[in-house]
Subunit: 385 residues, 2 copies
């Protein structure tokens, strides 16, 4: 049975904080390997290997940190074949927990084995920790730091494009080499690193029709007079929070179609930010952007080659310990959900047409009572001579 998570229920997680935003939020501790974490009698309890125990006791949010090896050794005196499920069952008994609420991504293998051992589990809703959706001042600052790392990437791109020259064939030359997406992405990654961010999910620096395939990272030479989509969403390793911004550039001279495309995306971007405030449904902001582009004559669908064109992705998504999390701006599934104060969302309208290219402009805002505030700040100048 699926149940909406409630603050009262005791929770059980088995995940790696580096792989699970819920675990990272619950543990407030970075760790690459999964471990046992649960609540009992209002306390946060972890069972973790000796390898992590010193850091965990020092850095984490747990009230009680158990040594998993010691616990397992004890358990195996009476149950030689005991493993993680048996240990969890024993801990549930010791701490008198009748039933655990587990996150929707709790591993099924463990779920089934615990069920066999008579440990009652209920699967919580999404978001599992509703508190994660409403950001604290501290979290807002972590997200700003993520976006500052994105901006460091944009500055690197702008510097390279400025210093690049255009050869007779229309390719860009930088430091005597042909400028490629790979060179741009490497420069972005180095710049983000210096700002404390790593691009765990990759970096997008895609020119021309590659930018139309809007999650294509970009490969090979960058050409003059083509739109270059740069989407940078670094993780700040120290906090676990992401930034997420996109700018679109062009080196050389833009065509009238390109100029119109970029200007209209920017207008849609401004209009969406105007609409965002507490009480508005995310899907309504999304729909107004869909209408906005439709009214300007932009068609969304599939071209003859079966390639999606137009505005075919959501308007935005929550950002925090995940680069994509609740709430959602778009996606009919969340039509009912109203934005609430201190929710954080990206605003990233985009248009994509083979031949003209792709344009996406993305910032991050925090929802406020009467509007929203930018958590990202970077110029929108896109034509670089």
């Amino acid at each position: 049975m699926i149940k909406k998570s409630t603050k009262k229920a005791d929770v059980l997680l088995f995940a790696s904080p580096n792989n699970s935003a819920d675990m990272r939020w619950f543990a407030r501790f970075a760790c690459g390997d999964p471990f046992i974490a649960f609540t009992a009698k209002g306390k946060r309890i972890a069972a973790i290997t000796p390898l992590e125990i010193v850091r965990c006791r020092k850095e984490s949010n747990f009230d009680i940190v158990l040594d998993m090896s010691e616990e397992m050794a004890k358990l195996r005196e009476t149950q030689p074949e005991a493993g993680t499920p048996e240990l969890i069952a024993a801990l549930a008994e010791r701490y008198k927990v009748n039933s655990f609420l587990v996150p929707p991504d709790f591993p099924s293998g463990l779920f089934v084995l615990l069920h066999k051992l008579g440990v009652k589990l209920e699967v919580g809703g999404t978001p599992f920790f509703p508190q994660r959706v409403i950001k604290t001042e501290e979290e807002l600052e972590y997200i700003r730091a993520g976006n500052r790392a994105s901006c460091a990437g944009f500055k690197a791109v702008e510097k390279i494009l400025k210093e690049s020259t255009i050869d007779k064939k229309g390719f860009l030359k930088y430091n005597g080499k042909t400028l490629t997406s790979e060179i741009l992405r490497a420069a972005i990654e180095h710049a983000c690193l210096d700002a404390g961010g790593i691009n765990v999910e990759g970096v997008i620096a895609a020119g021309g029709d590659q930018g139309v395939d809007c999650h294509c990272a970009g490969f090979g030479p960058i050409r003059a007079n083509e739109l270059i989509v740069c989407d940078i969403f670094p993780l700040i390793a120290a906090t676990g929070y992401f930034g997420d911004m996109t700018r679109t550039y062009l080196k050389g001279k833009a065509s009238p179609e390109q100029k119109k495309l970029v200007n209209d995306v920017k207008k849609a971007h401004d209009a969406a930010i105007e609409k965002i405030k507490a009480g508005v449904a995310g899907v309504d902001v999304y729909r107004s952007t869909v209408e906005f582009f439709k009214d300007l004559g932009y068609e969304t669908g599939y071209n003859d080659a079966g390639v999606p064109v137009g505005f075919f992705h959501g308007l935005g998504h929550g950002v925090g310990l995940n680069v994509h999390e609740a709430p959602n701006l778009g996606g009919r599934s969340l039509a009912a959900e109203k934005l609430r104060e201190n929710m954080v969302v990206t605003v990233e309208p985009g248009l994509y047409y083979p031949g003209i290219g792709g344009c996406r402009i993305e910032d991050v805002v925090v929802v406020k009572k009467d509007g929203c505030e930018l958590l990202s700040k970077h110029p929108y100048k896109w034509e670089i001579a």
Copy 2:
């Protein structure tokens, strides 16, 4: 109903390739968001958003790539509230799959909902894809590349330590600044980036007693005459495969205790590599290392402060699309498992004592019929004048 995975059964995965090694292996495609993947009639089938569909059709390993939005829209004509579970149920019916084998980390929420919808699921064993444990020549080369990125990090550390001077207080000065773990880790990360690797799980460059807490990343000033543990396990973004190597350094002059510690760890490292070959149980190699250190008089356990000391972690672990995967060298749970040809494991004995410091030496080997071959190559010179 846990069942050993069999090649015959049809499998179902719902995960992000960037978060699930099984999905990355199955899809041969990098993607940040989870999507539906399954087998039917000997074909690999994906249902993915339009956002990823062009890349997925171009780059992935799937025979059939369905547009999740189109499929969902069709489904919602008759089931307005349909979501991922209903879509999976519909696809199971369309492709006439009676029962799916799902990986142990398949999300419980989806597992429960699919069960309610009458989709038969069995949870597979670990490893879910046994083929992943035996590496192909291509995979071995990917892991070598990961280790080359680690080596780039070591070279950066060695250069910095060589160029550093020791001030009166015993701190290291580099470029006029006090050398810190942060400076070393940043240099490692930049060097890895240039070798195609990102340190998604962090980098360890920990001096003195910080190196005793063997997953401490290292913070603050590095001192002369202290052991500096550098553990570098970069992900090669292009392939998804990891490298994993550790070297221990010291700038200045080592004490007799430090010299003995490092030399004994190196002897244990050599002895373990001598023992590794097809047919040997990983746990036996581990136990021989435990005995080796015991015979030399090194005590393993907890000191008065409750800090684990001695050789308190495993001898090694598999490496591939996960930095930690099967097989395991240590951990009684896998006592029965014998090493097989073309399995890949780290060999990383270590000793840790507050006051003396920590030392770990880690290389990666591929198991062969009559021994093993190094997949990592870097000198062991550790004392830097």
